[in-house]
Amino acid sequence: MKEFSIIGKDVPRTDAIVKARGAAAYTDDMKLPGMLHGRILRSPLPHALIKNIDTSKAASLPGVKCVVTAEDTPKIKYGNWRLFPETQDEYPLAIDKVRFIGDEVAAVAAIDKDIAEEALELIDVEYEELPAVFDVDIAMKSEAPVLHDYCPTNISVNRKIKYGDVEKGFAESDYVREDTFTVHGVSHAYLEPCSALAQVDLDGRITIWTSTQVPYIVQCLLASTLGMRENDIRVIKPFVGGGFGGKMELRTWEFCAALMAKRTGRPVKFTLSREEEFLAGRRRHPMKLHSKIGFKKDGTIVAKDLKIQLDGGAYNAMGPTATFLCGNFGAMLYRYPNYRFHGQHIYTNKPPASAMRGFGAPQSLYATEIQMNIAAEDLGIDPIDIRLKNAQVSGDKIPDVATISSCGFVESIQRVAEMSGWKEKRNSLKLGQGIGIGCYSFISGGVFNWFNTQYPFSAAEVRVFSDGTAHLLTMAADIGQGSDTVLKQILAEELGLTMEDIRMTSADTAMTPQGDLGSWGSRVTLMAGNAVVNAAKKIKEELFGAVSAHHNLNVIHEIECKNGRVQAKTRPDYGLSFGEAVALVQKANRGEPLVARGSYTPRGKGLVTPAFGFGAQVAEVEVDKETGLVKVKEMWTAHDCGTVINPRSVEGQLAGSIQMGLGYALSEQFVMDGGKTLNANFADYKMPTAMDMPLSHVTHVDTYENEGPMGAKECGEGLASPTAPAISDAVYHATGYRCKDLPITPEKILEHVEKTEDVGLESRKTLHCDLEPEPYKIG
């Protein structure tokens, strides 16, 4: 494998020092002269007609400078799926109707936050309450309340996938089973509440600083909803305090900040409260999953039929993508010769669900993995063995979707089994203790152009200077995952420079090259990384030519950028410093600066993604029989992310995904009643703390992804999936309670224990009857 000087090395994040000092400015840290403070009025009802809005009292409150309702807007619908305009179902402010508690109705901008808050209470909204629906099964009935006139069925997206002959497959199976799973919604719970600050420039352009994952998408949709041109909007992403999918759309406060800045001529800032984030914020889709699967006696999968209903809440948001991806993830991990999927995205009167770390995979793979374990038990096969028997490998084709390129899945399963002492523990752990497995696969960015961008998916511009430095410009958005550092590493590696030699400007739609679709779906390292490599190669061609001419080199010489020099590979003395080489190129071009642009757009890569990451995880738990409390003691992870570019970042992503997965499995949920969220704060929304975290062991399976920059691909998002099924399987192993209805709460465990008494123990005995502890071979 290629030797790198910066890739894979322990390079600290380049933004860490300013963050450690508290000097990194996030949107809410910014202040502009004359700035107004905005607040949003939200619907108190889950479903109602707006009969009248009277803003006069609010507008006349001293200190209030602007009040807007939908009447003050161009009333243009928006949504991320521009390719299919019929899916764009949202207005920045509600017109005629509200569809969930928290739906945005009006906004106020005032000279301070207290006055803005007071003004909200002075807005009189006359509602006529409508029947509401909170459950997908009821929402699909013909007599159910209809949320959107254009969609009388409440089913806004239908996605079908089919290959092979599923019915024939079931007929040929020795063992067929059907299960229904329900999974719940959880919050992204990024620590930084959303915030946006807008001002009007001298030429009428609006500049908006916003806590977003998708500067370019915000630019385009803000322009269209305001009735302006794309270039009339400049989006700048300051430091962002996490996103996890929750900040990947245009949102009402961004629209209102821009509109009100335009109307008042003053900068306007909106910052959400944590309560607003929990009450009305985006969330992971709750789903019902019906899965039927057929096996041969020896554990070979023959067919799978998966039907999923996604509880989308009141608007589509990123639901269409989640619906598509659920079907794609349902066919991942194992070989399914016959596969059928039907996904339905359903409107209910709840806050809209959207993208969240894993993007459909945590839900889809929960069903896959739990059902795999049930089948393994019924067929008398170890859960590890049944996975190895069916595991996807490099070169596998998923019809109409993709061909799997690099794949370390088999090795991941083998390693995690060995690391955790699987066979030994699966046989010897006492009642109340358990060990379980979950696996994942995930995408490295999407191929499907739902945003209908006319630009490359990712782009980079590289400017090099005779002082030996380089300036990297890209619209890619670092939201805390560390992409700025990774992209700098890639450029430094390509140009043979150090991290200190690279300057960077990122995520400013007026300054950085069009385009970039943003940070989601684990796309940045592969796509923006490839764009950086592409630009760097063009720079190198120029430098190589100059050095070659300067030293009158034989044309057969290979030239390289290394250690701050541009030199012949076999004769490093034939070379120049990087800066001297840049100066030579400039001289040859009458002073023109040396600049190159690179881009990446996946082509010929199927429908889903250019590359998949894989991995497996084992959890060991202890369950208190008296209280039903689950303590996750230890976790083992083996994963395949291609080349590791920044080891500390990869470790951090993995540990962070375990925190999120732990919360998803055991403690986090929205407690809702009649569309109202009852636990809209961190005291009642139980996110794991430092004291809840298990001991964790990680191993990277070496693979090299040909489509990725330096062999890299997805990392850290796929790992949102395996934790919940691994814990769930371990809880089953410990108690006999098989959770098909997340989260796994003490109540559910105790109810099971009471019902079954010692039956749990019996099921454990049969589970272990023919297992023998023997070490796994590492391939």
Binding site: A16, A20, R21, G22, E192, A655, A690
Partner: protein
């Protein structure tokens, strides 16, 4: 009616007239422009707004500004007063990768400072307990725990060097 308060922040003296409902978090962020201290929830649950008041770590979002009259406040900006060097806690956070999005960082560092002031050699369980009032969504806490144990070592070593001299 506004109340006059006199207090020290990171060694500097300030005099402010504040509404009785103004929080210390608002006074720091809005009046003094010390925006290193964050606001993550406003209900004292996430720890992102933690500062030290007269040696005690407090949630600045739950502390009224009037209550710090005559007191001394340390914020993240006060950790390393010189422009060049980082405090050992900050240095350890940078080195171990304990910072991702960075929004919880200031609160975590103040928690670390408070912990190490009271317990210079904490074991892992004590570090985790010391962080239990702080939420992080990015790191899974492991590199933060590592950072604090690295910082504890550095601080102990520099202290014993000072004592030897």
């Amino acid at each position: 009616m506004k109340h006059r308060i006199n207090f020290k922040v990171n060694g500097d003296e300030y005099s402010l007239a504040v509404e009785p409902w103004k929080t210390l978090n608002e006074a720091l962020r809005e009046d003094l422009n010390l925006t290193g201290t964050k606001l993550g929830c406003g209900t004292g649950d996430c720890g992102a707004c933690t500062v030290i008041v007269d040696g005690k770590s407090v949630s600045s979002c739950l502390t009224l500004a009037v209550s710090v009259d005559g007191k001394s406040v340390t914020t993240v900006e006060g950790l390393a007063p010189s422009g060049d060097e980082l405090h050992p806690i900050q240095e350890a956070f940078v080195k171990t990768g304990a910072i991702q999005c960075g929004f919880c960082t200031a609160g975590m560092e103040m928690a670390a400072l408070h912990l190490l002031n009271h317990n210079p050699s904490p074991n892992e369980a004590e570090i985790r307990a010391g962080l239990s009032g702080h939420l992080c969504r990015c790191t899974g806490y492991s590199q933060i725990v590592e950072a604090i144990s690295v910082a504890a070592e550095t601080m102990k070593n520099s202290q014993s060097e000072e004592e030897e001299q």
